[in-house]
């Protein structure tokens, strides 16, 4: 276990070194130094204004997750159980997943206006597909022999679902939820970039417009740190499920 | 006439170093084994006794923690020496190549010229009854045929020592018996030394000149039986009374060890 932490520290050190070198090469109009970025990040974490923005984003993200994960799960479970529907939908879902949803961005803005609902919508349409796809595959991949065993043990449909299907599909579903989490965050942030007057995404846009390099990098760093931590936590959870 | 030692293990031991959550695992040994040139030697033993590890030590795929491994008088280093062929338990055929290209693979990598390659591949495929399937891909063949592809691929390189790790494990009994016959034919025609790992006592008894019986983990040889069969044998020796005696003796030796391996008393 300690070895893992040592590796992370080594990696962080290597990354910081690389960053510093790039900074020296690119100059302060293109990049911010690690020191300046981290200092600014610290300032942000201590400032009330930042947390207000974070709460904005967090609310939108939370709602988007709720919508994406629950509808994704529902859709995936239904398609996993109903063979025919699943087969019909499989390539459609795949295509929808790979469509650059940013192309739908203007449509979302026009449909939902500027504000919270647009952010939630944009986040949700990103997250719903991986969750549905992974869930569907997880359920379809339950080995038939497990289902036969359930029948021989004369389990009811509910018992079968609860004690055979879900555990068997749990690993895939967990993976889907993890991916869904990440892309929903991305969608919410993108939604904020242009559709909002507050939130982290909005702060980013403002920093971009005024070309405040340190601000951009500090915010991006914080976002990345949050996403990485959340992902590690979800990965650990996922490994336990396996 | 004293038989020539083709490959040998002396005091070979394999211990796996401790890992996250596990202590060290004493998988094998110490083991002494001297394979005579041209013999057919089987290794039987309970599950987990380290049979596969023994094979991999001989092949140079793993290094012994203690003891020595030698092939043709020279120590085996950390890579498989020239002249050894291995057939694994899992299907190792390359799914992206046709049967022909699979079998020709080793020859082409070794720089054997095209005409010679063509000749050897054709002969091997004919020998294994796969000529009609030269253009098929392994995915289109049954498990038994895929194993035959792997055997053919090993054959064409004309190895002097052939190591087989439970190659027929995934096949049904009838196919196994027939494959056993083919293996014997191969052995006779090539004059190679063969080491076969198997958990099937009848298979070991039927095919081998000698059978080594291993104990439960950490595996050591409890005994080595000589069967005394003629070189020209085939699967029909199963009907001979001596066959029953050999398998009976093997089970006598093995029964206790198998119970140990299962964790019982």
């Amino acid at each position: 276990m300690t070895r893992r932490w040592v590796d992370y520290l080594l990696l962080a050190a290597g990354f910081l070194a690389l960053w510093q070198i790039l900074f020296l090469l690119a100059g302060e109009h293109a990049l911010a130094s690690p020191a300046a970025t981290l200092r600014r990040a610290g300032e942000l974490l201590a400032s009330g204004a930042f947390w207000k923005h974070a709460a904005e984003t967090g609310t939108a993200f939370g709602l988007a997750c709720l919508v994406a994960l629950s509808s994704g799960l529902a859709l995936g479970i239904w398609l996993g159980f109903r063979r025919l529907a699943g087969e019909v939908a499989d390539p459609i879902l795949g295509s929808l997943y790979s469509i650059p949803k940013i192309t739908l961005y203007p449509l979302i803005l026009l449909l939902f206006g500027l504000g919270l609902s647009a952010k939630v919508a944009f986040g949700a349409i990103h997250g719903i597909f991986p969750v549905a796809i992974f869930t569907m595959n997880g359920i379809r991949q339950v080995p038939p022999v497990h289902l036969k065993t359930a029948r021989v043990l004369r389990l009811s449909a509910w018992q079968t679902a609860k004690s055979v299907l879900m555990p068997s599909a749990a690993a895939e579903i967990a993976a889907g939820l993890r991916v869904g989490f990440s892309v929903t965050l991305l969608g919410t942030l993108i939604g904020e970039l242009f559709a909002s007057t507050s939130g982290i995404g909005y702060s980013l846009v403002r920093a971009m417009d005024t070309h405040q390099v340190v601000e951009i990098m500090a915010l991006t760093f914080l976002l990345f740190a949050f996403a990485a931590l959340a992902n590690s936590a979800l990965l650990a959870l996922e490994r336990r499920v396996r | 006439m004293r038989a020539e030692t083709h490959a040998e293990l002396r005091g070979a031991t394999r211990v796996f170093p401790p890992r996250e959550g596990q202590g060290e695992v004493h998988a094998l040994g110490p083991v002494d084994l001297a394979l005579e040139r041209g013999e057919f030697f089987s290794v039987v033993g309970p599950s987990g006794c380290g049979k596969s590890t023994l094979l991999e030590l001989l092949a140079g795929l793993q290094q012994p923690t203690a003891g020595t491994v030698a092939f043709e008088g020279r120590p085996v280093g950390n890579e498989p020496p020239d002249g050894i062929g291995v057939v694994f338990q899992e299907d190792a055929s390359f799914p992206w190549l046709t049967v022909w290209d699979n079998v020709a693979f080793g020859l082409r990598r070794a720089g054997v010229d095209a005409a010679e390659t063509e000749r050897r591949v054709r002969d091997a495929l004919a020998f294994m009854g796969l000529l009609d399937f030269s253009r098929a891909h392994p995915a289109q063949l049954s498990g038994g045929m895929r194993q035959r592809v792997c055997i053919a691929r090993t054959l064409v390189l004309q190895p002097r020592l052939i190591l087989l790790d439970e190659p027929f494990g995934a096949l049904d009994q009838q196919t196994r018996l027939l494959m056993g016959d083919e293996l014997l034919r191969l052995w006779r025609e090539t004059g190679a030394t063969v080491l076969l790992i198997t958990h099937a006592l009848d298979e070991a008894a039927m095919l081998s000149d000698r059978v080594g019986v291993m104990s439960a983990r950490p595996g050591r040889f409890i005994d080595v039986l000589a069967t005394g069969w003629a070189r020209s044998r085939d699967s029909r020796i199963v009907s001979r009374p001596e066959f029953g005696a050999v398998t009976g003796r093997l089970w006598d030796l093995l029964r206790e060890e198998s119970i140990k391996a299962l964790g019982g008393r």
Partner: protein, 253 residues
């Protein structure tokens, strides 16, 4: 009718149904023309736009950038993935970072890229490649993981050596998963390039969409959005067909 055929028909019917519903919604005036236009109008507008050649230059620009970005993502993604795969400790440390990568809108770093690379195709390509490369890295790692041990051992017994083992055994064995990675790299590279063009707005399809959006020219905007979607789906379809063919011919390795 065979099952495969009925599945295909149902799918076509489903898609047709959705398109027709949209068409009806728009024609009936239930959705404002400033929000959404009917699919038929979109298609018509696109056809006219393409015929007029007004966007030909932009399309070519975007195509070139996308192609370069895709190529860069795939090649760099595989190289980095293979390198990281060879260093298990490094890989374990990097794993959560790779998964987290797509949670952050990395194109906010875009203005910084411009300062570094200047305004022009290079920045756009860099953006597209940056977006697509991690998907390829992840799939390279998974693909190399899935090479069956028996194949690796066979390569050692045949004394192939590191480079030949990678080229002749590991790469082909990992190919189906690599193609999945390529599909993702394509999608993400397109997003990266078009989004960058959207923001930078000097040339390319992205720029055209941005202008059309600002001018409330929904016809042009949707026509171009349709173009991108169709292009991605075609590419995706081709890669998908290749992936399916590999799975059929080679079986599940």
């Amino acid at each position: 009718m065979s099952r495969a055929a009925s599945v295909r028909w149902l799918r076509v019917a489903l898609i047709a149904g959705v398109v027709l519903a949209l068409e009806a919604l728009c024609r009936a005036g239930l959705v404002s023309r400033h929000t959404l236009i009917a699919p038929s109008e979109m298609a018509l507008s696109l056809a006219r736009l393409l015929a007029s050649g007004r966007v030909a230059g932009d399309i070519r620009f975007t195509l070139q950038n996308t192609a370069a970005a895709i190529a860069a993502s795939i090649v760099a993604g595989f190289a980095i993935g293979a390198a990281v795969h060879a260093l298990p400790r490094l890989r374990r440390a990097l794993d959560p970072l790779f998964s987290a990568y797509y949670a952050v809108p990395t194109f906010v770093l875009y203005p910084l890229l411009i300062v570094a690379f200047g305004i022009g195709a290079t920045s756009l390509i860099a953006m597209g490649a940056m977006f697509g490369v991690v998907a390829m890295i992840i799939n390279t790692l998974i693909g190399l993981d899935r090479v069956p041990l028996a194949l690796m051992k066979t390569a050692r017994v045949m004394r192939l050596g590191g480079a030949r083992t990678m080229l002749l055994v590991r790469l082909p064995a990992a190919l189906p998963t690599l193609v999945t990675g390529m599909k993702l790299a394509v999608a993400y590279s397109v997003i990266g390039v078009v989004a960058a063009e959207f923001i930078l707005a000097t040339a390319g399809v992205g720029k055209r969409i941005a202008f059309a959006y600002n001018d409330f020219d929904t016809r042009t905007m949707y026509a171009l959005m349709l173009l991108i979607i169709v292009a991605v789906m075609v590419l995706n379809g081709m890669l998908h067909a290749w992936e399916q063919r590999l799975h059929r011919r080679w079986g599940r390795a």
